[in-house]
């Protein structure tokens, strides 16, 4: 029935690109958005339809209570993709988005399908450790309150630790990068302390602060501090001398030279440090949570594993992936904003 619907609408709106049947089956992202190619347009509904069919076949002999969420999820994706296909001829913005996103979304749904075939379908992997997507989604739905709480808790630790680490790193980085004395005394300290992975400080952190939250924040801050400091120093130290000369002849004092010449010149480097620091902060967050705190995604994973509830472990991983990639994306957006002047100077 759904197949008929998909095929029925194809000829109607794809008449202009009828000469491209040879491209059928290829994943092509067309640059022009005048009309969508057949493979692009059909990719997501087709993939979802296949996934749904596989799911129905696989879950025949499982209790429906464990699989309903996944069925609903695939149904919603299918419904939305069909609605979008019908609406897109009249909505250029949606069409542009679809031409960019649909192949990748279709690939994602296909992966879910493959995952289900391997796990729930043919049971190629040992069972309690590798649940299928339906079970993971069901765990996500059933335990959302706990997961939500843990995500919020992790966000709090990460935010506090990252902010503290960045604030301290910018101060130390700017001082060491700009002032000769700060460099003489600070650089050796940085070279000795910095490379120690923050997670190696866990035993010490637990002694210093019996409250796991503060030690986690401290460890995250330490993990962020080193890369951000290093990159800030190199950014400040690499400021073109002629920018500083020009600023001096314009009447600039030291405050202007630091705040309005050296720091803007160092910002591209500082952002590299911020990205590196973000990566290490995720790692440190999860490690710190598994040792000393009573909530958070890292703690949740350890707890679920203790009860052999691997569906919950994967549910937490899914949340973590969404959580971390959202934060990454936000930082990219901030960078695009702040470094907009680089557009055209570098390969953006």
């Amino acid at each position: 029935m759904n197949t008929a619907l998909v095929q029925a609408k194809e000829p109607a709106q794809l008449a202009p690109t009828r000469e491209t049947p040879a491209l059928r089956g290829e994943v092509v992202v067309p640059a022009a958005t005048a009309g969508l190619r057949v493979p692009t347009l059909a990719s997501l509904p087709a993939a979802t339809l296949i996934a749904l069919a596989v799911h129905v076949a696989v879950s025949k002999n499982e209790p429906p209570v464990d699989t309903r969420s996944y069925t609903i999820f695939l149904g919603i994706v299918l419904g939305l993709s069909i609605v979008a296909s019908l609406v897109q001829p009249a909505w250029a913005g949606l069409r542009r988005w679809m031409s960019h996103m649909w192949p990748i979304l279709a690939a994602f749904v296909s992966l879910l399908c493959a995952w289900e075939v391997i796990t729930s379908g043919f049971r190629l992997l040992p069972m309690p450790y590798f649940p299928g997507p339906a079970s993971v989604l069901q765990n996500l739905v059933n335990d959302y309150a706990q997961l939500f709480k843990c995500t919020g808790y992790s966000l709090l630790l990460l935010g506090a630790g990252y902010a503290l680490g960045v604030a301290v790193a910018l101060i130390t980085g700017i001082c060491i990068g700009w002032f000769r004395h700060a460099r003489y005394w600070g650089m050796p300290l940085l070279k000795v302390i910095g490379p120690i992975p923050a997670t190696a400080w866990v035993p010490l952190a637990m002694v210093v602060s019996p409250d796991g939250r503060y030690s986690a924040i401290g460890l995250i801050a330490l993990a962020v501090w080193f890369p951000v400091t290093m990159l800030t120093i190199s950014g400040i130290a690499n400021t073109r001398a002629s920018y500083l000369d020009v600023a001096r002849t314009l009447g600039a004092g030291e405050k202007y030279l630091i705040l309005r010449v050296a720091i803007p010149a160092a910002l591209p480097n500082i952002f590299i440090g911020l990205f590196m620091g973000l990566g290490t902060s995720f790692l440190t967050l999860i490690v710190a949570e598994t040792v000393g705190v009573k909530y958070g995604l890292g703690w949740y994973i350890g707890w679920a594993q203790g009860w052999a509830e691997y569906g919950k472990v994967y549910a937490a991983l899914v949340i973590m992936a969404a959580f971390f990639s959202t934060i990454m994306t936000l930082l990219f957006k901030v960078r695009d904003r702040v470094l907009v002047w680089q557009k055209g100077v570098i390969k953006w």
């Binding site: 000369d245 020009v246 001096r248 002849t249 314009l250 010449v261 010149a265 910002l267």
Partner: protein, 268 residues
């Protein structure tokens, strides 16, 4: 000597008295390169003087000393009645590379001097005037990398002029431009000079440029940098690049620099 159309003279006189400067060599701390060996020069308020000479004759060093970015080993530099002890907004400097701050828009680059001196609030109304003066009033929101070489150099000039410097130091400002843009920019700089009456010290490799623009040309020789000769250019303005007098002066200067003909071996 002041440009014929000058209405105001913002410039100050400049006096350089027996200045020497040497640098230690990077590879050998014992040996030193003598960039300047006893240079004296007086420039009147509102005068445009060119420094001409081969590479290594200390032209740029002299300009950096005047800007206050370096200090001399011995000798004195004076602007009006004040000794030069460090950089100051009174002495603007324009390099061959415009050195615009890439993170600031054209307008904010031009405003930079006002921000640096903490007078943006009072003087903000002057910014538009300077953008018009260099013909960039519609480019205020553009970032420097969108500008052509000539436009970028005009922004650099406006940025230096917004502080109303008493002396404007120009270190081969037009050296990187193509020949046509360069000639147009020479007229532009002359127009700014005549409008403001700023004292200008221009370092250039281009003898035509020096004759076309200067009241006086200072010929320098290298190792150590010294003033070889000073020529007063009293051709009427605006000057003709192909007049007989212009070409005669050109030949004379080339002869003094030993570039007049093939009989002289070129320095390595």
């Amino acid at each position: 000597m002041v440009g014929p159309n000058s209405t105001i003279v913002e410039g100050s006189s400049l006096r350089i008295v027996d200045v020497t400067k040497s640098f230690s060599n990077a590879d050998n701390a014992e040996s030193r390169t003598h960039a300047l060996g006893g240079v004296s020069l007086s420039v009147a308020a509102g005068e445009l003087v060119s420094l001409v000479g081969p590479s290594g004759c200390g032209k740029s060093t002299l300009l950096r000393l005047t800007a206050g970015l370096d200090s001399p080993d011995s000798g004195e530099l004076w602007v009006g009645s004040e000794a030069i002890t460090g950089p100051s907004a009174e002495r603007g400097l324009v390099f061959q590379d415009p050195n615009l701050f890439p993170w600031l828009t054209v307008r904010r680059n031009i405003e930079a001097g006002l921000v640096a001196r903490g007078v943006l609030r009072e003087k903000r109304n002057e910014v538009d005037g300077f953008m018009r003066l260099v013909g960039l009033e519609t480019f205020g929101a553009a970032y420097p990398h969108h500008l052509s070489g000539g436009m970028a150099q005009r922004v650099a000039l406006a940025r230096a002029l917004i502080n109303h410097p008493k002396v404007l130091l120009l270190d081969e400002p037009l050296g990187a431009l193509d020949a046509f843009t360069r000639m147009r920019m020479q007229d532009e700089v002359l127009r700014l000079w005549e409008a403001r009456g700023t004292t200008m010290l221009l370092v250039t490799h281009d003898i035509d440029e020096a004759i076309y623009m200067s009241d006086r040309i200072v010929l320098m020789t290298p190792r150590p940098g010294r003033i070889e000769r000073t020529l007063t250019i009293d051709l009427p303005r605006p000057r003709q690049r192909n007049s007989t007098d212009f070409l005669r002066l050109r030949g004379e200067i080339l002869g003094l620099l030993h570039f007049a003909g093939a009989q002289e071996a070129l320095p390595a």
